[in-house]
Amino acid sequence: MKSLISINDFNKEEMLQVLDLASAYEANPNQPLFRDKVIACIFFEPSTRTRLSFETAANRLGARVIGFSSLSSTSVTKGESLKDTLKMVSNYADMIVIRHSLDGAARFASEIAGCPVINAGDGANQHPTQTLLDMYSIRKTQGTLDNLSITMVGDLKYGRTVHSLLQAMSHFNPRFTFISCPELGIPQEYKDFLNERGIRYEEKQVLEGGFEQADILYMTRVQQERFQDPMEYERVKDLLSLNASMLNGTKPNLRILHPLPRVKEIAIDVDERPEAYYFDQARNGVYTRMGIITYLMNQ
């Protein structure tokens, strides 16, 4: 029995296997392989995209879905512990998809449940299915995952999708450029991680073009609550915003990814550019999650 809690739970071959399954599902989305299975989607905090795409993936695979989408409709409001809730749910379901506000809650869940667990986001820690759908989008748009130049912009300190994608892509000889303000720069432990593996990277503080060599521009949202001084947020937000004029002179294969929701870090005039891929990226989530469910069910 295998779970997917952190992107590090999958090795390179397993990631590629999931991406191959996702490609097959994109070609033929309705595959009722798991008609006899029940999948519990238990979301202890709100989510739109992730929950709906998991439920769509489970339904397209023929599985029946149970669960809840907020704390208020559960016995947690009566004081039930996370452990007891999980024990109970794992008695009903063949697989659990969990989102929780506490870091590490998904790992804890996988140690309690008697069935495979998929982490659909645990606080600020991991969101591995987002990472796999990012990888799927990268491979689909670039034709390969190898030797790509990836520029990451925005909140590189707290952004869990940034950290997971960086770890996952480290298997494929990437070259990174990190663009962020000092307050939200890439943490030292991830620089150590890249240095240990001999992966090249550079750091910049202002987004002002200069990504002529980039294959992927990975934008993230700068959250206001990360700043003590609102004026500082206003200043930084503008320095890390992308507009269409910055895209002149870039490579034709450049694609812009964003885990969404987008606020103002990508100007509306970018949406019509051929490089904009963030809405297609969200659609890839269903196929990738079908691939993940299939891979784990078959273990």
Binding site: S81, K83, S101, D103, G104, F108, A124, N125
Partner: protein, 164 residues
Amino acid sequence: MENEETMDEKKKLKVSAIRNGTVIDRIPANELFHVIEILGLTNGDFQMTFGTNLESKVLGKKAIIKISDKFFEEDDVNRIALVAPDAKLNIIRDYAVVEKRQVSIPSEIHGLARCLNPRCVTNHEPVETRFTTRMSPNGLYLRCHYCEKETSGKNLQIISKNKS
């Protein structure tokens, strides 16, 4: 000659000798009580003596603990390496040192330290903490098995073994 030996003995024995048991030497003076806590020595009925702020060439000020009729498993004693990486153990039988051991930092630590991430599940649910250790040029780091955040060994918060 006899007098010189007596003087040496006095110099050495600032903490009284034990017949059988364990002597833990080279503990940084300010970590003495952490070591006592980590080893769960606060609730035993064995005899224990300790000295602190003793002069040490290696550490400046050191502490030493002598515990009668107490012998430790390697895994248990390695837990103190987090706060006392230079600690040395002498196993005593019939007043003689029969074995010397150096502690080493374990690759995994269970239930010893608190995760400093306030949003970590271990600080909200009844779950034992687990860390893997990593040595970097900046020193020791502990990576939480649950929230995957790293804590510097310098900021370690010990959970008493008796309470865990």
